[in-house]
């Protein structure tokens, strides 16, 4: 037999049913006059519904506060094996001798909540691995090319301008991907071969470990003449229909935290960004006429319609 008190059954209320209140006033008429001395804790019940009433007094901010707690006591019957009951209080032996649960530091309850993390499909993992394999293949080709001194055309001044090597067009990456070794090591080992592999290139690492620079410049669209109440969500609604958006940035004033009236939106695909520009440049939004154009890249890039 186990009697249980669940916290959900506890309700704390300061109004109090009259009958018990009267009984209380009668019982504690004398000590109530003295401010320092508090009446003792009182327990009524449990009544026929199993409800126990606990009355406590405490001083809070110079006032005497009466706290009434109503607790439902329920008895739950569980059947267990006799053997289990016998083993409830086993004597300690071996290294645990003479130590109770508090003295022993062997068992800890985690303070952190651990969840059963739901996974949608296992396909995601395989795709990631493919990505990783491609990256690895690419990196090894590059390493080989570099070693044999083969050079090709540079990708543009922004990419490879200050590099000692050039990348041939055949292994150049698409616009959505980052150059494989911005500043990390270029010769990659397969995991398990004992060689160091940077975290961003290990199996299972997300391939989205991009540098800040490429993330900002990729298909970035500048929107100006925005109203001050425009939020990221509004821009997502406005630009979302044109294609996948990777980042929305609204410029806020550093002091006043108010919108400065312009924003940058990065599209995943360039043609979708172009479509958004064509459609929304000059579009009336919140009584203002939007200006939508390609964002000027940080470093000028000739292949983009930079301004």
């Amino acid at each position: 037999m186990v009697s249980m008190m669940r916290w959900g059954d506890t309700l704390e209320d300061d109004d109090f049913d009259e009958l018990t209140a009267q009984a209380l006033v009668a019982a504690n008429a004398a000590p109530a006059k003295q401010v320092e001395k508090l009446p003792p804790k009182q327990v009524f019940g449990p009544d026929k519904d199993g409800v126990k009433t606990i009355v406590e007094y405490k001083v809070e901010g110079g006032h005497k506060v009466k706290v009434t707690k109503k607790v439902r006591v329920t008895k739950k019957q569980m059947k267990t094996n006799k053997g289990v009951l016998e083993r409830r209080n086993l004597g300690k032996f071996g290294e645990a001798v003479g130590l109770n649960a508090e003295q022993e530091r062997t068992t800890m309850s985690m303070t952190e909540d651990i969840f059963l993390e739901r996974v949608k499909t296992s396909k995601d993992n395989t795709r990631k691995d493919e990505n990783f394999d491609q990256l690895q293949a690419l990196a090894t080709t590059k390493a080989l090319l570099r070693m044999s001194g083969i050079s090709g055309k540079p990708d543009g001044p922004a990419f490879g301008a200050n590099k000692a090597y050039k990348v041939p067009a055949s292994v150049r990456r698409g616009p959505g991907e980052r150059p494989p070794d911005e500043d990390g090591p270029s010769s990659l080992a397969k995991p398990g071969s004992g060689q160091y592999v940077p975290p961003s290139l290990r199996a299972g690492a997300s391939s989205a470990g991009e540098t800040m620079r490429t993330r900002r410049d990729e298909n970035s669209v500048r929107v100006t003449n925005l109203s001050e109440d425009t939020k990221e969500q509004d821009l997502l609604e406005l630009f979302g229909p044109f294609g996948a958006i990777s980042r929305i940035y609204i410029a806020y004033d550093r002091e006043t935290r108010e919108s400065r009236g312009f924003a940058f939106i990065n599209f995943v695909r360039k043609d979708e960004a172009q479509r958004a520009i064509n459609k929304l440049d000059g579009y009336g939004y919140d009584n203002l006429i939007l200006r939508v154009e390609w964002a000027a890249p940080r470093e000028p890039r000739p292949q983009q319609e930079g301004r």
Partner: protein
């Protein structure tokens, strides 16, 4: 859920066993002290002192009064489970790995490793309920059937047969009386690290370094299901309550320090037994998982890792509300 973290061991865990009632559990590790815990609170009851090497596996009698442990110190020891006293020692000259009681506890099924020219072997030892009569009596020894280490051996229904899993990726079934090889099937490309039965003993689950886990029919050795994962597996368990499989493993312990925690894949992964689909993970360990065991009622599970920790997870309503 908030798992209980048991820090009783100083070396990697090798084996975890719940008793039949599910109120206590034994953990075995590469340190020399198997440990007894309360399965609900995680309180340590005691350690069994006497082994001189890594303990590889253990088994508990049905009445939870006696424990058997197999150790790399070439001994198998019988213990009084509740007092921690060693009551009998089988001495060998080869490391002992897997041990289990037969139904009725008249025999012990033991596997021994290859050592100094001795081939790996499966042995059946006589076990007496009365400890006074206990002797070192070997009923059967099969030493010519396995080319590699025998990682686990388990009794079949009514002690008529037993199955073994081997480093060569094969599962074999033997006649327990004659020792005749009845059936063998190649289920894995790489070593089978651990094998377990479901609670009824109808199916076998294997965990292998080839990143697969396979569900086999005990009678026919048909491959019923294959669970393909993205990590080498060390352990597998079948939930006694739901149609779930828990798998654990991760990157090889030797290369753990070269990668970040997440890349090591040290989580417990849950697969649906029928649809063979992964539906969830539970993280926590920071080393590869060496053992996963469900409690007999299926409401909690315990993991043991290469990191030396045992974690008891009491599953919460979130898990039981899953419509899988």
């Amino acid at each position: 859920m908030r798992p209980l973290l048991l820090k009783g061991h100083t070396r990697p865990l090798t084996f975890i066993k719940y008793n039949v009632d599910g109120d206590i559990l034994i953990s075995c590790a590469k340190d020399h002290r198997p440990t007894l815990w309360y399965a609900d609170t995680g309180e340590r009851i005691g350690t069994y002192k006497g082994h001189n090497g890594a303990t590889w596996s253990c088994d508990i009698t049905r009445d939870s009064k006696r424990l058997v442990t197999a150790s790399a110190d070439s001994t198998v020891k019988l213990w009084n489970l509740t007092t921690g006293e060693c009551i009998f020692t089988f001495k060998f000259d080869i490391p002992c790995r897997s041990v289990s009681f037969s139904l009725g506890e008249e025999y012990l099924l033991l596997t021994t490793d290859a050592f100094m020219g001795t081939p790996p072997a499966v042995r059946i030892l006589k076990h007496s309920r009365d400890i006074e009569e206990q002797q070192h009596e070997e009923v059967l020894c099969i030493s010519d059937a396995h080319p590699g280490r025998i990682t686990r051996a388990m009794w079949g229904p009514l002690n008529k047969t037993f199955v073994t899993s081997c480093e060569d990726g094969m599962v074999r079934k033997f006649d327990a009386a004659s020792g005749k090889l009845l059936n063998e099937v190649k289920v894995h490309e790489k070593s089978i690290q651990m094998m377990d039965l479901d609670s009824e003993g109808n199916t076998i689950i294997t965990a292998s370094l080839d990143k697969k886990s396979v569900l086999l029919d005990f009678e026919t050795f048909d491959i019923l299901k294959t669970y393909q994962t993205d990590r080498p597996l060390n352990t597998a368990a079948i939930s006694p309550l739901k149609d779930h499989i828990a798998l654990g493993g991760g990157q090889d312990a030797a290369s753990v320090t070269t990668t970040a925690g997440q890349a090591g894949k040290f989580e417990v992964v849950f697969y649906h037994k029928i649809f063979q689909e992964m539906f969830g993970t539970v993280r926590g360990h920071f080393g590869p998982l060496n053992f996963v065991a469900f409690s007999p009622n299926g409401k909690s599970f315990t993991t043991g890792g290469e990191d030396g920790y045992v974690r008891i997870h009491h599953l919460d309503s979130e898990y039981f509300d899953l419509d899988l």
